[in-house]
């Protein structure tokens, strides 16, 4: 059986990975939102479904879809998601000429990508009424959306790796160094475990939890949500991360080198080579750990905490379950 210090260091590491992963998630969200990644991927998915850029433009101009674009964004905003029913409405209006704003550029089915045209024609022929046709188009659309979700997940995973590398180098997140510090400094270990406990008990959360306000706030059955922020790191957690990360000690070494051997060529490069040699394995481990994502580390932290609570002193209070 492992001793308590080992378990506490494991708790500390799981907690630190959780906080770093939360930072990655938040950055991921900011980038995805700034570059409209979801919306662009959705448009790409619809383009691959119908195979005609002209038709995609027409569909996006249809009021059923245009009204889904976020009103607060400038330029030519795209909706981040389109319910299947709205897609079906827009596409049937396009080909029947019904509905508002569809008569300007009414495309023919034959202008579609062969496969899409064939599928749409089959659906039209086999449907007994417009409702059945709509239902079939919705199913067709939903299948493509599963693929779009897959694309987006893969994109997020790739971006998470990239962000993890940036974060690791920026903050010098060396897992081995962090473990050594937690192992050798019992006061620091206790502080980190306490902070981990607080996150589990009070602030919780495996990913940034959105804080949302509603339009028409007083009415129970109208209005729409608008995200105003998210719950990520507490001030105490930020302080803790600042004290555990950074380049301070490595830069001290560089300054000392400069004073001992002033004017030496390639000093900075040699210094970085030495630093990389010391930290490389720790950096790689951190990048791999961060790629597991915040939910994984939150779950792991919970398990370690449960293990620790199972072995607590008899007079230590047990957390209650309602």
């Amino acid at each position: 059986m492992f001793g308590l210090p080992v378990l506490d260091v494991a708790i500390g590491m799981a907690f630190l990975y959780l906080l770093f992963a939360l930072m990655c998630t938040t950055l991921n969200e900011i980038i995805a939102s700034a570059f409209d990644r979801r919306a662009k991927m959705l448009r790409r998915g619809i383009r691959s479904l119908v195979g005609s850029e002209q038709l995609v433009d027409a569909l996006y101009r249809h009021p059923a879809i245009a009204s889904l674009a976020p009103i607060e964004k400038r330029g030519d905003p795209l909706p981040s998601y389109i319910p299947a029913s709205r897609f079906a409405q827009a596409i049937t209006d396009q080909f029947t000429g019904a509905g508002p704003g569809t008569n300007a550029t009414k495309p023919e089915i034959d202008t579609l990508r062969d496969e899409a045209a064939k599928q749409l024609k089959t659906m039209m022929e086999r449907s007994r009424d417009p409702e059945e046709l709509n239902k079939k188009i919705e199913d067709w659309y939903e299948q493509t959306m599963d693929r779009v979700t897959g694309w987006y997940k893969r994109y997020v995973q790739r971006q998470t790796y990239a962000l993890a590398i940036v974060l690791v180098l920026w903050l010098n997140l060396d897992s081995i160094h962090l473990i050594q510090r937690l192992w050798s400094d019992s006061a620091l270990r206790a502080t980190v475990v306490e902070a981990a406990k607080t996150r589990i008990q009070e602030s919780g959360g495996a990913e940034p939890i959105p804080v949302v306000e509603y339009t028409e706030g007083d009415k129970p059955d109208s209005g729409h949500p608008v995200q105003t922020g998210s719950v990520t790191l507490t001030d105490r957690e930020k302080e803790l991360l600042t004290s555990l990360t950074g380049w301070q000690s490595d830069l001290l070494r560089l300054n000392a080198e400069r004073q001992l051997r002033p004017g030496e060529k390639w000093q900075r490069l040699r210094w970085f080579g030495g630093v990389a040699k010391v930290h490389l394995l720790g950096w790689i481990l951190t990048v791999l750990a961060l790629s597991m994502g915040a939910p994984f580390w939150f779950d792991t932290l919970n398990r370690f905490m449960n293990l620790r609570n199972a072995g607590r002193a008899p007079d230590e209070p047990r957390s209650k379950t309602a």
Binding site: S203, E207, P210, H224, P225, A322
Partner: protein, 325 residues
């Protein structure tokens, strides 16, 4: 005493061995005004477009899935014991039909992270189809009879005025394979890291939790506070449709209190309703309970806070009486 390098190796091994299956939490965003309206109600009545109806489920219920409705969430309406001959009229009424028209569905509301979006994500209560990007999980996942959802009308009491449950159908059937006993259920609620994190704003509430199982829990309860005029529940038209009592849930074998003072809701026109209305404090009953999140507790514990994490606040709707004293 382990040397530092050995300790590092051991800790890395522990962390690496943590790669076992982890449940992923998801978010559910609710409008506070809506939650305030339903915090002490048994039921909800809403116009719902049913997209597809399932075949018989493991628990003998029938599901009707919806992605468009007055509640503003992807949801499922569930007919209790829907495969029974007594439920034929309701089965017909819930079907999406040819016209895809909305149906007015009346039943017990249920917030429960039973089928949240796979792999995490956020679903938002949205009454205007203007959801921000963060709510994208609500339109994409799951089949039409069972879309990814954390909201249900379950059990359904009536569809377009066609009554569904009643004394004949609110019973525990032998072919209901989805029943859990209370000791196991409460062990799961308490020990599976089932934490509910609540983030509040002026008009919104975000709930964050992992998936939770269980539709039905067979449980022995001891009434601690009988029904009163303050614990009756009303529909939108002001008519009383049920109420609640407070009860301790106790274990079958050793009388341990598994949950103290849980709210047990009942529907008037049902066998558990009859029994719970008549029960004085101290009475013991065995019921089939359907767990749901307690909106009243959620609003109370998060009042005045930006974010708070609590053990799952649970209450039950009594859907059958399994034995009387």
């Amino acid at each position: 005493m382990l040397k530092t390098s050995r300790a590092v190796a051991v800790i890395l091994t522990i962390l690496a061995s943590s790669v076992w299956c982890a449940g992923v939490a998801s978010n559910l965003v609710l409008k506070k005004a809506w939650a305030e309206k339903y915090r002490n109600r048994l039921s909800i009545e809403a116009k719902v477009t049913i997209l597809h109806v399932s075949a018989k489920e493991q628990d003998a219920d029938i599901h009707g899935g919806s992605r468009k409705n007055q509640i503003g969430l992807p949801m499922v309406a569930e007919i209790l014991n829907g495969t029974q001959p007594t439920q034929k009229a309701t089965r017909t009424a819930i079907g999406p039909g040819q016209d895809g028209a909305e149906k007015t569905i009346y039943g017990a509301w249920r917030l429960w992270f039973e089928h949240p979006p796979h792999g995490g994500g956020t679903q938002c209560q949205d009454f205007g189809n203007q959801s921000p990007a963060l709510c994208s999980s609500q339109a994409l996942g799951g089949s039409d009879s069972n879309p990814d959802h954390s909201f249900e009308i379950h059990p359904v009491f009536a569809i377009n005025q066609v009554p569904s449950v009643g004394k004949s159908s609110m019973v525990l059937l032998p072919d209901n394979k989805g029943v859990k006993d209370s000791a196991k259920a409460f062990q799961d609620y308490g020990n599976k890291n089932q934490i509910l994190t609540i983030a509040r704003s002026g008009s919104g509430i975000t709930l964050n939790s992992k998936m939770i199982g269980d539709n039905y829990v067979r449980m022995r309860i001891r009434i601690t506070k009988a029904k009163s005029s303050a614990t009756t529940t009303k529909r939108d038209d002001g008519s009383i449709d049920g109420g609640w009592v407070l009860a301790d849930v106790i274990s079958d074998d050793d009388d341990r209190v598994l949950a103290a003072g849980a709210r047990i809701f009942y529907f008037l026109d049902s066998a558990p309703g009859d029994a719970l209305q008549k029960s004085a404090a101290g009475t013991e009953l065995e019921i089939l309970g359907m767990p749901r999140l307690n909106l009243d507790t959620i609003l109370r514990v998060s009042e005045g806070k930006d974010a708070v994490a609590v053990p799952l606040p649970i209450e039950f709707v009594a859907v059958a009486l399994t034995s009387t004293p």
